[in-house]
Symmetry: C2
Subunit: 442 residues, 2 copies
C-alpha cells in the first residue's frame, strides 16, 4: 500500500489507553486522568482523530483496520526535557561531583563532536536509545560545534521526530578546544536557527552551558539572539551543586543570586528551561514562576552526582512547569520509567509521595507544558500528533508474575502504571509510534 | 558423561576474573582486589582448586576442558543479606511508609503462605529470580507459617543453594491470622531447626519480625532457642523508620534505645543480622560493632519507603560488617547491581563516594563476612565453593556501545565493573554457577 494513502486512511490502535488531561498536582488524580481499559485510538495523517472506549468508538469507523494491543498500556510518548547526546558514551563514568566530572569525562568526549561522522554515529545511537525507551520528544544538548547540531537535526528529521537542540555556547572556564567566542556563538547559532528552527518538527534552543562558562559579552549576544528570534528556546543549567553556586557568586559578585545572572541577561522567560534547580531559594522559585520558566528535574543525575534532592513539591506549589529528564550522561539510564522510579524516591525522602498519575503527568503533559508544546503533544486529545507508546506489563518474568491478572478497574490500571514505573525498563516498550507510524529501529 | 565423574574431573572457566581479598573500606582498592584480564578458574567437585592468569595456570592442567568467557567479567556469586520471599508478588506496591505498607500489602500477601502449594510456587519463582540476577546466596525471610519455610528450604535444596531462612515470629500487633505465640514460635522453630539447619548448604535463622510485634515472652523464647542452638542465625529489623522508633519507645519504655531491646533479649551477637539501621545512634553503632553483629543495607527499599539514608561510612568506621540487600518487596529490584547503583547514590548524597571495588566487596566477601560464611564463599580463593557469575558487559545496545573496547588494563576493568553496577541488570547475567554447575532456570 502506498504510504501516503495509508496515512490518509484512518486506522485504529486498541489497548488500555491512559493519559493526563489536567495537572494532578492541582486536581485529584481521578480528575486529571483519562483511561479506557479497552480503548481505541483512531489516527489519520499522523494525528489523533478519535480516542475513547473501543465498543463505542468503533461504531463510527466501520471497516477500520485495528492493531490489537489489549492488556498493554498505551500512553502518550514520553518527553525528556534535558539530555546531552554527546555524553552518550560516558554514561556511568565514575566520579565525584559536578565540576570534576565535567573536567574529567564530559569535556574530552564532547571534543570528538567536531567530527561530523562521529557526531552522526552517536546521534543515531542516541535517538535509537530514546525510541527504544519510549521517549518521543526531547530537549537535547549538542556540543559546542555546529557540526554536532547538524548531525542531530539530520538524524531527528529522518525519523520525523519532534526535537529541540542547539549549539552549546561557552567562551570561558573550559578547555580551549571547547571554547567559542561571543561572536562565533552569535553567528553560528544564528545560522543554525535559520536552517533548522521550525523545519518539520524541529526547534532550536539557545544552549548556554551555564553562567560560569560564559562571559558577560556572551550572555549579551544570547539576549540579542533571543530578541531577534523570540520563538527559539533557551536551555541552561541552574543551581545544581554547591561548588557551582560558590563559583557563580565569585564570578558574578554584583548579582544577588544565581537566577539573577540569567535574569539580567533577559534569559528567564516562558521558553526557558532550566535544568536541576536543586538549591533554589524561595525567591528564585517565585521569580521563575512569575516568568513562566520551566525546570527539568533530573533525579538519576542528581543522585549520581550527589547534587541533592530537588524540591518538586515547592516548585509545583509555585506553579512552575516541571518536566522529567534523564540528563544523560550524568543520569544513569535512558529510561524515563527508571527516572520516574528515582523521582518517586526523591519525593519519598522528603515526605512527599508522588502518585503514578503525577509521574505520568511529568513524563507527558507536564513535559509538554514545560516546552510550550502542549497544544501539539502530551496527551491523546483529538488533533494532537500521534506520538505514543505501547507498554508491555509482562515484559520480564517477575512482571509477568506480578501482573498476571487482567486489568479490570481503575485500581488495577493505577497499580500497573505504578509498577511499570518502579520495575520497567526498555524491555517494556512493545512499540513506539511517531506521527502514527510504528518505529522500526535501524 | 556421568555427572559425579564429571564433577570429580577438573574443568576450567576462562574470563576476566575479579574478586576481593581484603576489605577496601580499610585497604586501598588495589590491595583489596585480585584480577586477571585473561584468567582461569579451575574447579573440581564443586570447589575452586585454582585461580590465576590463564597462560600460567593452564600449564598445570594439560587437557583441561575450558569454557571460554573471554571479555566477560567473572565475579563470585552475589550475596543478598536481607530479602522477603513472601513479598515477591507485592513488589512495587504503591504506598506511604513502613507501617502502613506492612498493613496494606505485606500482611495480606503473607497470609497466603499457609498454603504450601502457593508457597512452593512462589519459592520457585523467587529462587529463579535470584539466580537470573546472579545472586547465589541469600538470607531470606519466610512467613510465619512453617509451611512457608518447608517450601523454600525444599526449593533451595533441589538447586544446591546456600541459603538461610526461618519462620517469622510475631505474637502481637499484627493481624490475628499472622500471629503465633511464644509457645508455637518455640516449638515450630525448634522442629524446623532440627530438620533443616546444617542440611546440605542450608542454615536456619531465628526470624523475629521486629521488636514491636513480639511480646517479652516471645523475645525470651527466642533467646532460649539461641542458647539451645548457638549456631543458628538471628535476623530482624532495626531502626528503619521514625514511626517505628516512636512505637518501640512506647512499647519498651524501660530500654534506653531500640538496640537495647534486642540486647536485653541476648539477640545481639556475631550471628545476628539487622536490616536497615538507618537511624542508629553512635552508641548503637558502637555496641553492634562490639557484639560482632552485622547490618544489611537495603538502599532501594530505604529510598522506596522514604526511610532515609543509611550511614554506611559510619558503620564501616565502627568496623561493623555490612552486606547489601534487595529487601524485596519494599526493595524495587531483585538485581544486586541495581542495588549497588542506589547504594552508590545514597553515598553520593552524603558526600561519601563508594568505589566499584567497595561495592563489589559489599556484594561478595563483605556479605559473606556478615553471614560468617567467608571461609566458604565470597571470593575465588582455592578451596571455596564454586558459586560464581559470568557478566556480559555488552548485554544491551547502550552497554555494547559504551563498552566496545577490549579490556586492556586495571583502569578498564575498574571502569567496566562500575558501569556494570550503574547500567546493568539481569540481562547482564550470562551464566550463574552453583557449586561449579551452570544453572539452567526451570
Amino acid at each position: 500500500m502506498n504510504e501516503s494513502i495509508a496515512r490518509s486512511v484512518p486506522y485504529g490502535i486498541r489497548g488500555c489507553l491512559i493519559d493526563c488531561i489536567k495537572d494532578p498536582f492541582f486536581y485529584h488524580n481521578e480528575q486529571s486522568v483519562r483511561w479506557f481499559i479497552d480503548g481505541l485510538l483512531v489516527i489519520r495523517s499522523g494525528r489523533i482523530i478519535a480516542c475513547g472506549d473501543y465498543e463505542k468508538t468503533i461504531q463510527n469507523y466501520p471497516n477500520l483496520f485495528v492493531t490489537d494491543y489489549r492488556d498493554r498500556l498505551i500512553t502518550p510518548g514520553f518527553i525528556d526535557t534535558h539530555v546531552h547526546y554527546p555524553q552518550t558514551a560516558i554514561i556511568a563514568s565514575y566520579g565525584k561531583q559536578l565540576l570534576e566530572w565535567l573536567e574529567k569525562y564530559t569535556f574530552p568526549e564532547e571534543r570528538k563532536f567536531q567530527n561530523i561522522d562521529y557526531a552522526a554515529q552517536v546521534a543515531d545511537i542516541f535517538l535509537n536509545e530514546l525510541l527504544r525507551n519510549g521517549t518521543t520528544t526531547s530537549m537535547v544538548w549538542s556540543a559546542v560545534f555546529p557540526e554536532s547540531v547538524q548531525a542531530l537535526f539530520q538524524a531527528a528529521k529522518s525519523r520525523n521526530l519532534r526535537l529541540i537542540t542547539g549549539k552549546v555556547m561557552m567562551d570561558r572556564n573550559a578547555p580551549d578546544y571547547l571554547l567559542d567566542t561571543a561572536e562565533t556563538a552569535y553567528s553560528e547559532s544564528r545560522s543554525l536557527i535559520e536552517q533548522w528552527h521550525g523545519c518539520d518538527r524541529l526547534s532550536y534552543a539557545l544552549t548556554l552551558r551555564f553562567a560560569p562558562t560564559s562571559t558577560p559579552a556572551q550572555l549579551k549576544i544570547t539576549q540579542q539572539l533571543q530578541n531577534e528570534y523570540p520563538s527559539v528556546y533557551l536551555q541552561t543549567h541552574l543551581s545544581e551543586n554547591f561548588g557551582e553556586l560558590a563559583w557563580v557568586k565569585e564570578l558574578f559578585p554584583n548579582e544577588n543570586d544565581y537566577l539573577e545572572v540569567y535574569e539580567k541577561a533577559g534569559l528567564v522567560h516562558d521558553r526557558s528551561v532550566f535544568a536541576h534547580g536543586i538549591h533554589l531559594s524561595s525567591s528564585e522559585f517565585q521569580r521563575l514562576s512569575d516568568a513562566g520558566a520551566a525546570i527539568a528535574f533530573c533525579p538519576t543525575s542528581n543522585l549520581f552526582l550527589g547534587s541533592g534532592l530537588f524540591k518538586l513539591h515547592e516548585a509545583k506549589l509555585n506553579t512552575i512547569s516541571v518536566g522529567l529528564a534523564t540528563d544523560i550522561g550524568a543520569g544513569t539510564s535512558f529510561s524515563l520509567l527508571q527516572t520516574a522510579n528515582e523521582a518517586y524516591k526523591v519525593g519519598q525522602l522528603q515526605g512527599h509521595t508522588l502518585s503514578a498519575i503525577q509521574m505520568l503527568f511529568l513524563l507527558t503533559l507536564g513535559g509538554a507544558r514545560s516546552l510550550s508544546l502542549d497544544d501539539t503533544i502530551g496527551n491523546l486529545n483529538i488533533g494532537k500528533e500521534a506520538d505514543f507508546v505501547v507498554w508491555n506489563l509482562k515484559a520480564t518474568p517477575l512482571m509477568a508474575f506480578r501482573n498476571a491478572a487482567p486489568l479490570k478497574n481503575w485500581d488495577d490500571v493505577n497499580d500497573r502504571l505504578f509498577s511499570l514505573m518502579m520495575m520497567g525498563d526498555d524491555r517494556c516498550v512493545e512499540a513506539t509510534y511517531i506521527l502514527g507510524d510504528r518505529v522500526t529501529l535501524s
